[in-house]
């Protein structure tokens, strides 16, 4: 498609529960990025993929966060044993093969609320 799609729009979890978020990049885009936006507008980079390969995972809290981009499937971001501080909006973005100069196009986000 021509837009980055993210599901679900909203997700509510109790502390300790698992949360799984999905992202379908724009068709033909090779790179996928995940960002976390917390309440004070701060954006934090989590992880990026080039097709199904991890490209940069320097922002991932590895103990509880994992992510995948498998062929012919939406990419996913999974949080095991959610904590209150995981409450945020999670944005996915994609970029075409011209990673050097292209704009990242952002999806609508998934709002995760951990109670």
């Amino acid at each position: 498609g021509e837009e980055v799609a993210q599901t679900p729009k909203h997700l509510v979890r109790g502390e300790g529960q698992k949360a799984k978020l999905y992202c379908a990049p724009i068709k033909g885009h090779s790179y996928v990025f995940w960002y976390q936006q917390v309440l004070k507008n701060e954006f934090k980079f989590l992880i990026s993929f080039q097709n199904e390969n991890v490209f940069d995972e320097t922002g991932m809290p590895k103990e509880r966060f994992s992510a995948k981009c498998l062929p012919n499937s939406p990419c996913s971001l999974e949080i095991q044993a959610t904590k209150l501080e995981d409450s945020a909006v999670y944005f996915c973005a994609s970029i075409g093969a011209g990673i050097g100069t292209d704009t990242q196009y952002f999806g609508p986000g998934t709002r995760l609320t951990v109670l």
Partner: protein
Amino acid sequence: ELKVEQNPLFLSMQEGKNYTIYCNYSTTSDRLYWYRQDPGKSLESLFVLLSNGAVKQEGRLMASLDTKARLSTLHITAAVHDLSATYFCAVVETGTASKLTFGTGTRLQVTL
């Protein structure tokens, strides 16, 4: 570690007047982006600036980049109400592919 600062954090603008938002960053950068975010919405791409001296304009918004000063500005000409939103600059640090480091955001509110 790359730091990106924007100021002001909040700007109350009168319709018809001109304003400027500043974006400073701490290390060398491959490129700089400006995004707009409406409340509860996603990020809309406004500009990408690739080189020193780059200037881009779209409607009432004009963005420029000075890589020597590590500074970008977003200039608003004759503000109108529909420009009310939060504006973010985002920087790609040299050698980090396309990982974006965002500024703190500037919330613009245009009043009559």
